[in-house]
Symmetry: none
Subunit: 199 residues, 4 copies
DNA sequence: CATGAATGAGCATTCATTCAT
DNA sequence: AATGAATGAATGCTCATTCAT
């Protein structure tokens, strides 16, 4: 008669936030569903009202975060930018994003690791990387066409750039002071665009 | 009665080989000590004679593999090489090593992931990266001195190079066809040394 | 505001019908209160308005069904019948009733099985059997008096007859083709009345 | 080197005995695996060394008990007996067996009830009844041939006899005094062989 | 030394029941 | 009256670790 109106999506988001925090701290297998529930200020059972299983929560979270991440990253690209400017913006915002959420690195490691355990729930990681590679390699192709970039293999270069960004993140996970030791946000793009060799 | 002489080190190596195979296939938390024992053709109890715990085995394995890996990688550096040649050799042998043992990627992911869980047993990953970074950044510094390389920040560049290599490995874990799609072993070094920008 | 008038008894019956169907299909412990609620087109909470607990619903259902069953069975007895005719009618209508509702067998099994779990709610099964035994043994006694039946122990014979009927039902639960294989409705009464021995 | 020798079968039997006792007392769903373990004086995990799951234990127990039961029952048949004597012996030993282990009735109810829950583990009850029906109907056929029994339908009569025995057991489960109230072991066989009708 | 039987802590998940609306 | 969101007790099962032989 007067059904309790609950914003299911809002509740899911609450759980996602709690889960992100706990998974990032303890890792997937180190996290108990109760930990998530406690963090989200609800009963264990309630979490299960919104997510069928621990796996569903985990990979759902991945989806959620990736979406937010991509939205954030690719919001910086505008049509007026030159390929160089667009690429610079992507690299720079990505590095800054890692900086802002250090835990994201741990989460991502877990996603990578748990990714294998069969089942149909899991995100198609390969597709995710494909998508990123597509965007970046298209910018590179455009840059080559316009004479801005050298005649590199655009897909290999895109892989390398993503590799740099992921790899830098990994290294920062294990050595948080890396940023302190050198100005990564300046030097990494420099390397990407200029290479090591003297001209 | 003559005491049975057992080569403890040889036995440990047997266990390492079995463990590497099983951990790579099933991941750390998906692997049961019994799986390792079976693979190594011995009883569960025997594994515990050589390793105090699952963690000790796992991180001991990391140590073991990393040692082998580093030995292999840095064997290619010789004093006669120019910095450019040395760096090229490292990059190239690393890419080829990933190629040879695809599972290594999964193992590495697990090491990264489990790395955190307290205790004092764990390898100091940061130190590992530091060591690699040291070797590479020294080569870069040398190259700058000799006028071979541009005036980049050598530590940032080293981070970026390691990042590229780790990152490329990660991408190949999720998309094994990457090598097929483009000649990574040619293009990645090219990007590293020449950068994207046209000269 | 005019209060909504709800026919409590009608609603209870709705729930009973839904419950009978679900319990028969999934068994007592396999049935969730929500299943019943869904089948009855109402909310879980509403079921609890009418039945204090799952047990109360289950044993209430037993009462309800038994009542219907008894009403049906004993409607066939009339004062004009000879004891033989009355008994024949009971046997025959019982066998036919089992035939009509195959699921009843499963329900009954569950009632038997759950019957023990303490508490004061449960139906006194013994009393139920006593009642049936009373009716049947009285008919037998009457038959003996009138010289229609042999001098058997009427209570033992009544037990045996109920036993035959319950037992036949059980066997049909596990082998639904039993009726197909032989004409139970003819042969079972024949055995009851004539026995195995040749005269 | 000196492996602990454990008689796996003996251990299984220990567990069966504990399980029979606990299942009979609390029913299948009311029994926790720990209850069985405690009763058998072992740890929970140990039970799982011998039985893959609660279901496997339960239906394994059924197999075990049924085997014992059948062995006991059909041990009383000898080639020299007339069909009447053989049948009498079966009926009588069955009734006495129920008497000796009252709990068997409860266990059987549970087996009946749980029987449905799909899966491939479960005993084919139908086959069990078929087997009993075969033995008994063959004896009846033999009796008919020899002129000992009336021309009944032997399969229907066999069903009825099994029905009587199962049914009597059920009634005794709910009214343990039934035996006290009348001499079932005399009167039930009398009814089976002579029927109700006066000759 | 080697073993594998025994153990029990630990955790994902289910579901009867409650109660705010 | 009716609802269904929230809850947490309860339990089957796994697996690292121990230890008697």
């Amino acid at each position: 008669m007067a059904p309790i109106i609950v914003d299911k999506e809002a509740k899911k988001e609450e759980i996602f936030l709690a889960a992100a925090s706990v998974f990032a701290e303890k890792g997937f297998s180190g996290t108990r569903m109760e930990d998530v529930a406690v963090k989200a200020n609800m009963g264990k059972g309630t979490v299960y009202e919104y997510f069928k299983s621990k796996d569903a929560l985990f990979f759902g979270l991945y989806d959620y975060l990736l979406n937010e991440f991509h939205t954030k990253i690719y919001a910086v690209i505008t049509p007026e930018q030159t390929p160089f400017e667009a690429l610079s913006a992507i690299v720079s915002v990505t590095l800054r994003a890692f900086d802002e959420w250090h835990d994201y690195g741990f989460l991502l490691m877990d996603f990578w690791k748990e990714h294998r355990r069969g089942g149909g729930l899991q995100i198609e990681f390969s597709a995710v990387y494909d998508k990123s590679r597509d965007i970046i390699s298209r910018l590179i192709d455009e840059g080559i066409e316009k004479g801005e970039f050298a005649h590199v293999d655009s897909r290999a270069a895109a892989s390398a750039i993503i590799g740099i960004l992921d790899g830098v993140m990994l290294q920062r996970v294990f050595d948080p002071d890396l940023y302190g030791k050198c100005d990564v946000e300046t030097h990494i793009p420099a390397l990407i665009f200029m290479g090591l060799k003297k001209r």
